[in-house]
Symmetry: C2
Subunit: 347 residues, 2 copies
């Protein structure tokens, strides 16, 4: 892949992010570090009609991780890279979603104290789930969350583990890509959800290094298509939260790629497809009744791309990364009901 | 384990079934034979509150097999044990359920012709699914099914692959037990659904040989408790189909254990627990929203036993075998709605 032209809005215009892109060696080291602490998920062959002769389809079900999402990989890698001194002081992050539970889980497993700064109003269930994993939870007004983390870093010497804009986290997420190529060495297309961009950055680093002929494609909801627009325009754009908030894919409501993910995506990713809310619902339903998996809407976008946007994708052996399965039961059941209405446009 | 007293109703009262019980060597040979053709399922650690300090719980999700149930293991082992001459003539079975699709799938993967005798009235979806796997489907009145299979064996030289009363099939199902002990060597309790008894026979053969301290416990719906009654009374009893048909666990409506499974169960199984329909619904709901798995009601009985009948089970590290995930969407969604009402009786 030739380097794209410099991006004038990029904070690191002279080249890669300081420290460079995450490479295959870093992902392999992460795999060794997290082995046994994270589920080695299987690759599931989808049955017809999800799978077709033109596009044999496999699902990588990260929804089966102990905390229900791939986030456990990056958090575990980051926690296990701490120095003894850092580990003794503990870690901190601001998140109310899958990263909060992943970091709490990873820290507990390593015997390290975790503090999660959760913006109010936060769902009581998410606060309780994070506290149940032994983490200290501090609730703050949303506008205060980054400042509160900075205060804790300064006052208590905590180490911040960001959800995606971090080389340790990206290397951990990249183990998904290592496992895909190990299980399906002749994979042609890997579909990965994009929110802040950590998962696809790591997966692309691993897959493009191991199998240069394969294409890694990002998937976003139409209602949160900031990365698709960024790739199209060659600059890292931000969307308004009032816009991204409309998608049912709550895990994909981040409004802008991280700077380090953006460096990976512009160099390593072959394209970004967007899917409609009706297509997401259809994919959630197909995953439930044809693959027997409970997918969160954000995790189902890749299956939606395979089912409904085949014409925009390279042909061949395709893996859809199902990134998570943490759902609100009522909302998920409602989505299943609407999913019935989606029809499939040919191959 | 001391041999139990002879069973007067047993067709083989002098000792074990001709050929003896399936042993660990047979299960290990099956594992080698089916490797690569069947999913090596992971063992999933359940989160609190499904898992408790007294009973840490893992789920063995056979629902993730390509045909949605463990049946693929036994069918694949049996198909791969055929002589070249038998393979050239093809296989036959009567079934309208998970065994039909498993045999069709296993035969197609081995390049062998499969005939499935399906009793009418059969759901069109099941007939279509079996035909989509390349099998010849013959529909007959229910009373004719065994005779029709016998005719095909005589007239066409087909080899019958029964769903559970068969040492090849039992050895294949036993690979579930091998994998459980490989992933959790200090397992204490293994919970297995019982219908005709093939799955628990193979699992008990493997688990009790590899870990004599572990207890294998069967689970049935109260509405289809023929095996529980058989073990209690020391004889292989049959229930009326009009009785077993009332359970939502359609995969567990078989009315009597097979003779070979009965030999295994009376010698190797530590007990059989029965669960209510409400408990099954509660387990289906817990599996969906706490483990992110779509379980068929018959597959969820083991989780129901762990959640609601802990007092009847030995304590310790427990594995619930989730045997399948093939559901009718409408019926499954209705069951999820009723599942909310079940409360958990303590530990």
């Amino acid at each position: 892949v030739a380097d794209p032209p410099p991006d004038p809005a990029d904070p690191h215009p002279a080249g890669p992010h300081p420290g460079g892109l995450v490479d295959l060696a870093a992902v392999r080291a992460a795999a060794d570090r997290i082995a046994g602490a994270v589920l080695r998920t299987p690759l599931l062959a989808a049955a017809a009609p999800m799978s077709t002769p033109d596009r044999p389809l496999w699902i990588k079900p990260e929804s089966l991780q102990p905390t229900g999402a791939f986030k456990l990989r990056g958090a575990t890698n980051a926690v296990r890279m701490l120095s003894a001194e850092q580990a003794a002081r503990g870690v901190v992050a601001h998140s109310s979603g899958n990263h909060a539970q992943a970091l709490a889980y990873a820290a507990r497993a390593a015997g390290i104290a975790a503090t999660l700064v959760i913006p109010d109003p936060a769902p009581a269930a998410k606060v309780a789930a994070t506290e149940a994993l032994g983490a200290r939870v501090l609730r703050v007004p949303p506008a205060r969350r980054a400042a509160r983390v900075a205060e804790l870093v300064a006052a208590e010497g905590l180490t911040e583990i960001p959800p995606y804009d971090d080389a340790r986290v990206i290397a951990g997420q990249g183990t998904v890509g290592l496992e895909i190529v190990a299980d399906l060495p002749d994979v042609d297309v890997v579909l990965v959800p994009i929110s802040g961009g950590g998962l696809i950055s790591g997966v692309a680093a691993a897959v493009t290094a191991l199998r240069p002929g394969a294409t890694v494609i990002g998937v976003q909801p139409e209602l949160s298509g900031h990365a698709a627009q960024s790739l199209r325009e060659g600059r890292r754009v931000a969307w308004d939260p009032g816009r991204t908030f409309r998608t049912a894919a709550d895990a994909l409501r981040v409004t802008q790629l991280g700077t380090l993910p953006w460096q990976h995506i512009r160099r390593l990713v072959g394209g970004i497809v967007t899917v409609t809310e009706a297509e997401i619902a259809g994919a959630v339903r197909s995953l439930a009744f044809a693959a027997r998996l409970v997918a969160e809407p954000g995790g189902a976008v890749t299956t939606a791309a395979a089912l409904y946007h085949g014409g925009q994708l390279p042909a061949g052996r395709t893996v859809a990364v199902l990134s998570g399965g943490n759902v609100d039961p009522r909302a998920w059941l409602d989505l299943l009901a609407t999913g019935a209405a989606v029809t499939r446009p040919g191959g």
